[in-house]
């Protein structure tokens, strides 16, 4: 076999990636892949019968996979938990046709795996756009808006950005503080965004939708 000590160094490294498939391999020169019944190298044509031993399932967890190594007890909400959370926060359900359409449009980009290392810009973007749809329905449905934010009016752009931001954050975050960012800082961030959106001639419902979408899609809710 044409090889070298350098070859064996890398061989040993990459070999570890295949050990988990369960093929015992005491000799370095043997492959640790599941070919025990393939008759490789013999040319004898013996092989597994039709349909036998087929595994069409997803890959088993590779113990050396980097995503797995970065896993923790913290995680991302998957697509189902995300919609459940948005529904609970806004009162809007998937029975709403526009929300359902948005959900279907974003579904392939929403997380399926809770591993935090699986987060990506595409997933954050999809969650933000889905949240925008929930928030838009909430903003334009007075009963839902008043149920969550009694007294909040969206007939015009918020006159007092800070007060609006406080109402929004207090309403969504709830009374709990222990696991959140600094409440005052978050309210100030929302208020600054509201000011910026007002400068873009945003209407009351549009500003609410945008601020609400950013809040719901933030790690405050996306990450558990």
């Amino acid at each position: 076999m044409l090889t070298s000590s350098k070859s064996l160094a890398i061989f040993g490294l990459v070999l570890t990636s295949t050990l988990y498939v369960g093929c015992s391999s005491k000799k370095v020169s043997k492959p640790s892949i599941n070919t025990a019944t393939t008759g490789q190298g013999t040319g004898d044509g013996t092989s597994t019968p039709v349909g036998a031993g087929e595994d069409e399932s997803d890959p088993v967890v590779n113990p050396l996979d980097k995503v797995e190594a970065l896993s923790s007890s913290f995680g991302l909400l998957n697509f189902r938990r995300l919609t459940g959370t948005f529904q609970a926060l806004t009162g809007v359900t998937l029975a709403n046709q526009t929300v359902m359409t948005a959900y279907n449009a974003q579904l392939s980009s929403l997380p399926r795996d809770p591993a935090p290392a699986q987060i990506s810009a595409a997933k954050v973007s999809a969650a933000t756009k889905l949240a925008a749809q929930y928030c838009d329905v909430m903003a334009t449905t007075p009963t839902l808006l008043s149920a969550k934010f009694p007294g909040l009016s969206l007939t015009a752009a918020p006159a007092d950005s800070m007060a609006f931001a406080k109402t929004l954050i207090d309403g969504f975050y709830g009374p709990e503080h222990a696991l959140q960012g600094v409440r005052a800082t978050d309210i100030a961030s929302v208020a600054a965004t509201v000011d910026a959106l007002k400068a873009l001639n945003g209407t009351g419902p549009a500003i609410f939708m945008a601020s609400c979408a950013a809040t719901l899609a933030s790690a405050e809710f996306f990450l558990y």
Binding site: K6, S7, L13, V14, I33, N34, T35, T38, G39, Q40, G41, T42, G43, G45, S47, G53, D58, P59, K66, V67, A69, L70, S72, S73, F74, G84, A88, G91, A102, S108, S109, R112, D113, I119, S120, A121, A122, K123, V124, S125, A126, T128, K129, A132, Y173, G174, L179, Q180, G181, V190, T193, A196, G202, P205, A206, S211, A214, T215, A217, S218
Partner: protein, 526 residues
């Protein structure tokens, strides 16, 4: 341990057993708790949770204190992965690194039937196997290489009846075919399993270096590589920017800010503000996690997700990304109209190829199921092989039309052995799984001419029609064969130095260095 008497020994055994039982019980309880928290608990007689605390209680949000496992964080902290936010690439044409498209044909098709291998050593003239050997890879005596002349258009000999090559010819122009080369790595792999580490797309993306301006990895499905098969376990990086690009609608959706712009008179600045706010609120939240010792790299990954989302929502428009609005691509492909060509897996190949050659993505993965086709008869098998050829051909044709180089790597989990049943004109049908007859195929298309090649076949088969596993280190281990594919991409792309440095950074040594005559089919681009 020595015991004074039998009673003491029995007592010690009982205590040990009881401790083990308790430990097992605790483990089981913890597992149950984790499982329970995966599911929200929404009772019919309870109001819908609205406050954060109620959400936590219902399992729609999770509390943290119960489940912090220091050992896991310690484990993660010990791995210095050096995650960085992906930066936008050049996107222009200057010094663009060639794209890499990985195609997984799941189930184990027969690459050897398409490109019948010889038993010659690297760099020497083709030496056919014994006739009986070719019978195990699909050809009876009257069709066996040696009796039938193999075609040499791609450098790697192919059988004139190869459905895969016929599929390529269905859709590729003469000019594109003239710029295309093929190479094969003879290597065994496991049959019908996703455990073969056959996808090197993460390593390749890092070899290429300059990220696509939109993505780094365009994916067929969610996961590290976007495919079904396991990733090559070198230079893995979950921080690489990837997205599922199943079709044009998914691609358009990826960059369409939707309501975030339309509610502000289509002003994209509104989407920018929203993305920035989400990032700020997330950073604020993560700062609390940091205080609770959340792994810094996980924190970085999450922040990168929020930073990248802003670019996705604001820097691209769908019409610049789509094949159907690209006048160079929205035309016929030989006898196929655009509408006929642009469907299913073919469409996905064209979308990904465009992303790659336009500098929008660095790499892409397509997984095509249904290649566990043994026992289904020659007609079905030929149709599947031809369909795969069309996918490969369309990807290469798109690159040709855009005047860009492209590297296409085709892998499969295992392969097949052929039998006499169902043969037509001595072309045999695949009868059973046989991963000992597998190969990795590599195709390269140059900008104006064929890429330079040193030789075409890495490894060799034996007279029995199986991979000669005693010849090269790539012959017997899918992981090293996959690494060799990445090595050849690096050579094709002129990035061998990056290949070396990446391996070194991961504590590995280039196993092919000094053995280029056996492993370097694609000559280094200069």
């Amino acid at each position: 341990m020595k015991f004074k008497n039998r009673k003491e020994e029995i007592l010690a055994q009982y205590v040990a057993k009881e401790q083990a039982r308790i430990a097992e019980s605790v483990d089981r309880q913890q597992a149950d708790i984790r499982k329970a928290f995966e599911k929200p608990v929404l009772h019919a007689d309870h109001p819908v949770p609205t406050t954060r605390r109620e959400l936590v209680g219902a399992g729609l949000l999770s509390g943290l204190a119960y489940a912090v496992v220091p050992s896991i964080f310690t484990l993660a902290a010990q791995n210095a992965y050096g995650v960085e936010c992906p930066k936008g690439g050049s996107g222009g044409t200057a010094a663009r690194v060639p794209g890499y498209l990985h195609i997984e044909l799941s189930g184990g098709y027969s690459p050897a039937k398409q490109f019948p291998p010889g038993k010659q050593e690297a760099g020497t003239a083709f030496v056919p196997l014994a006739t009986a050997g070719y019978a195990t890879i699909g050809y009876g005596p009257t069709q066996a290489p040696g009796t039938v002349a193999l075609s040499m258009d791609f450098g790697l000999p192919y059988h004139p009846t190869s459905p895969l090559v016929l599929g390529m010819r269905d859709v590729m122009s003469t000019a594109a075919l003239a710029k295309t080369v093929a190479s094969a790595i003879c290597s065994v792999s496991g049959d019908d399993t996703a455990n073969n580490p056959l996808n090197p797309v993460q390593l390749v993306t890092k070899i290429a270096g300059n990220g696509g301006s939109l993505l780094q990895i365009a994916k067929d499905r969610d996961g590290a590589t976007g495919g079904r098969t396991a990733p090559l376990n070198i230079a893995q990086d979950p921080g690489l920017a990837g997205a599922v690009v199943a079709n044009e609608a998914a691609l358009a959706n990826l960059v369409n800010p939707g309501l975030l712009a339309s509610r502000f008179a289509n002003n994209p600045q509104a989407a920018v503000r929203v993305a920035e706010l989400a990032h700020k609120l997330s950073a604020s939240k993560l700062a609390q996690f940091q205080a609770k010792d959340l792994n810094q790299q996980v924190k970085d990954l999450i922040e990168c997700g929020y930073i990248g989302a802003k670019d996705l929502l604001t820097e691209f428009t769908p019409d610049k990304l789509q094949v159907s609005t690209d006048t160079q691509l929205n035309t016929a492909y030989n006898a196929m109209t655009f509408a006929q060509a642009f469907t299913g897996d073919n469409a996905q190949a064209m979308i990904m190829s465009k992303l790659l050659v336009d500098g929008l993505s660095t790499a892409g993965t397509i997984e095509i199921a249904g290649y566990d086709y043994h026992g289904q008869g020659l007609t079905v098998q030929d149709q599947k092989d031809r369909a795969a050829g069309q996918v490969i051909g369309l990807a290469l044709e798109v690159a040709h039309r855009k005047g860009q180089p492209l590297f296409v790597c085709v892998t499969t989990d295992g392969s097949v052995a052929f039998g006499a049943g169902g043969a037509v004109n001595d072309r045999l049908a695949a009868a059973s799984d046989n991963g000992g007859r597998s190969m990795i195929l590599m195709f390269g298309i140059g900008t104006t001419a064929k890429p330079q090649m040193n030789f075409h076949q890495i490894g060799k088969f034996n007279d029995g029609g199986a991979v000669d596993t005693s010849y090269l280190v790539t012959s017997n281990t899918a992981a090293i064969a996959t690494l060799c594919a990445a090595y050849n991409y690096a050579s094709f792309a002129g990035r061998l130095a990056q290949f070396e440095s990446l391996l070194a950074a991961n504590g590995a040594t280039n196993p092919f260095k000094g053995n280029e005559k056996q492993y370097q089919a694609f000559a280094p681009k200069v």
